[in-house]
């Protein structure tokens, strides 16, 4: 039993203490250094690092000894960020990348070879679908997309060459919650790792590794940054997947880049991470800027506080919208009538995130009028900022799709995606009410939206020129 005044002699050993999430968000990855005593992880904005002597230099390049070489491969500020996120996610380590998309490429590239197959949830970020389906096809990687809620579909999609399963904790923008443990079991029965993008949850709301995920990915641009300043990504390894199961020569076989070094044999549970850094990051070159890592470290210190307010504001906004007559549907797993409510209670007991989609009555025009009338919510293509953000997929990210094509992507013509920020809840609702008034006015008068007016002006100009 701990004394209320602090540690007892038995519990005084800090190496054994299970520190809380908030403590680790502030301290993991950095302690005051011996030279300056700086309490904040310093910004090492240096491209390269001087070697001690020639033998050290050679040993670093051979991975026989570990030291800073070049910031494309490692950097002390980036390392502090990597360790902090690895700690918060419960992984054995992490490698940061220049963006979330680059982190995905890195994670897959390290484990896969041409001809391999990925099974992925179809309810994920559209940019990821494009990356997997189109860009990865250039690497002779094949992808099957499945309904993430249909466990039989996951199983049915598995092939002999399926080497990875992929999904998001909270799907973008549909808000579906992944049954991580069930999909992890399917992956492991097949001798494949489960990769989970945990961007929308952040490690504060959900830690996929605790549910069986092998690799966790983040677009650090979102809640980890938290303030919308910097693009970045990170890959965290649980250190549990057996890369020596005979299916992953990419990780376990002798490395041609290091004279036949066997990463799995030499680095054990860190084999994949070492490959990811010393080969993939080094060769693909998408390294995170130390300055971005510095800002992320600041962001992480307040992650627990921010996420608490993000989810309480999100719940307030969702409840307001759910009661509104012009709202068709609110797709937020934190509302009891959501089909994902029970699963969110299990996987995200502290809150179902703060990004969700709302289907407005009145279709495409309603979505546009709604956004045009808002003055506090920023209209842009990002999420996970202190500022509340809104986007109308049908007129932006999904603009090329017809009203008939949209539903397959989980988007309707009247869908708007909200990323609920940290402003006063009353102000957020006040602004949304303005948007809904504009929707109502549009439904009654049929007045053109600004976008329609602009389109028709452009048409007139074209006609005049012709």
């Amino acid at each position: 039993m701990l004394s209320e005044n602090g540690a007892t002699p038995e519990s005084a050993d800090e190496t054994l203490r299970q520190f809380g999430f908030e403590t680790r968000a502030i301290h993991a990855g950095h302690r005051p250094d011996p030279y300056t005593g700086a309490s904040v992880a310093p910004l090492y904005q240096s491209s390269a690092f001087a070697f001690e002597d020639t033998e050290s230099a050679a040993a670093y390049f051979n991975l026989q000894e570990y030291g800073n070489i070049y910031s494309r491969i490692m950097n002390p500020t980036v390392a502090a960020f990597e360790e902090r996120v690895a700690n918060l996610e419960g992984g054995v380590g992490a490698v940061a990348f220049a963006s979330g998309m680059a982190a995905q490429v890195g994670a897959f590239f390290t484990m896969l070879a041409p001809g391999d197959h990925i099974v992925a949830s179809r309810s994920i970020y559209g940019g990821t679908i494009t990356q997997l389906k189109i860009t990865f096809a250039k690497l002779s990687l094949d992808v099957t997309l499945v309904d993430p809620d249909d466990l039989d579909a996951w199983r049915a999609a598995l092939r002999l060459n399926t080497k990875a399963l992929f999904a998001e904790t909270i799907g973008n923008p549909g808000g579906n919650i992944l049954d991580i443990a069930a999909v992890a079991e399917i992956a492991h029965e097949h001798g494949a790792p489960l990769l989970v993008d945990n961007t929308f949850a952040s490690p504060y709301l959900c830690r996929p590794i605790e549910w069986g995920a092998d690799i966790v990915l983040h677009s650090a641009t979102k809640y980890i940054d938290g303030h919308g300043t910097s693009i970045g990504g990170i890959v965290i390894d649980a250190g549990k997947f057996d890369w020596s199961n005979g299916r992953f020569a990419t990780v376990a076989a002798p490395s041609a880049e290091y004279h036949g070094l066997e990463f799995h044999e030499t680095f054990g549970l860190y084999g994949y991470l070492m490959k990811l850094r010393a080969e993939t990051l080094r060769d693909l070159g998408a390294a995170l800027s130390p300055f971005n890592a510095f800002l992320y470290l600041l962001g992480l210190e307040t992650l627990p506080l921010r996420m608490e307010r993000h989810v309480s504001n999100a719940l307030g906004v969702a409840r307001f919208l759910a009661k509104h007559p012009l709202v068709e549907r609110v797709r937020y797993a934190g509302l009891p009538d959501s089909p994902y409510y029970e699963r969110a209670q299990r996987y995200l007991p502290k809150g179902a995130g703060a990004v969700f989609a709302v289907d407005l009555k009145g279709g495409r025009a309603a979505g546009q009028r709604f956004i045009e009338a808002l003055t506090l919510w920023t209209h842009l293509a990002n999420v996970g900022d202190t500022k509340s953000l809104v986007i109308h997929p049908a007129s932006t990210t999904h603009r090329q799709l017809s009203d008939e094509e949209l539903p397959a992507t989980g988007v309707t013509p009247g869908t708007v995606r909200l990323s609920v920020g940290l402003e006063s809840l009353d102000d957020l609702i006040w602004d949304l009410e303005k948007g809904l008034h504009a929707v109502k006015a549009g439904l009654t008068t049929g007045a053109p939206t600004q976008a329609d007016a602009r389109d028709s002006m452009e048409t007139k100009e074209v006609e005049a020129q012709a």
Binding site: F19, H27, R31, P34, G93, G268
Partner: protein, 175 residues
């Protein structure tokens, strides 16, 4: 399904837990004690091939001030040190017996480690031998299993901290 997590968030690693509770042999206190107090490390199964994990470990530990004693009956000298055919043939005290052998060879090595009065039996990645560990433990030795002495040194005391590994260290004390 082996997804039960024994996630020791502070210690960093979520351990592979099969029938044996390996975590008992991955205690950060034991690991740090061995790293901080050892001077002489007998490397059983040290290979003369610079690309093998055992050579990596021997080279690294030597660079970090440990005296390496190769134990390999097929070789005369590795890393500039005389090779001994067995632990029993080493004519001076040994602190850590670091093992790169198949698990079935471990019990005999553990018995020898007890006999020569070593302080720690350290079994490298995938060298998993509950029987060998029990012998060493009964003989009063500390035991570390399925961990690499080089990696543990590098991430706790060395420069692998710049590789983004989770050390689990939480402290505001100046290093």
């Amino acid at each position: 399904m082996s997804t039960e997590t024994s996630a020791n968030l502070n210690g960093g690693a979520a351990q592979k837990v099969e029938a044996l509770d390996i975590a008992e042999y991955q205690d950060p206190r034991t690991i740090r004690r061995a790293l901080l107090t050892a001077r002489t490390v007998a490397v059983v199964g040290l290979s003369p091939n610079p690309l093998r994990a055992s050579y990596f470990v021997g080279y690294y530990l030597q660079r970090h001030g440990y005296r390496i004693v190769p134990v390999n009956p097929k070789e005369q000298e590795i890393l500039g040190e005389i090779c001994y055919p067995s632990l029993g043939a080493i004519p001076f005290p040994v602190d850590v017996v670091d093992v790169f052998r198949r698990p079935e060879a471990v019990p005999a090595v553990a018995e020898e480690a007890v006999r020569i009065g070593a302080k720690t039996l350290w079994l490298q990645f995938d060298v998993i031998s509950p029987e060998g560990a029990a012998i060493a433990k009964a003989g009063g030795l500390d035991v570390v299993m399925d961990r690499c002495m080089k990696v543990e040194h590098a991430r706790y005391l060395g420069k692998m901290r710049w590789f983004g590994l989770n050390t689990g260290v939480i402290s505001s004390k100046r290093e």
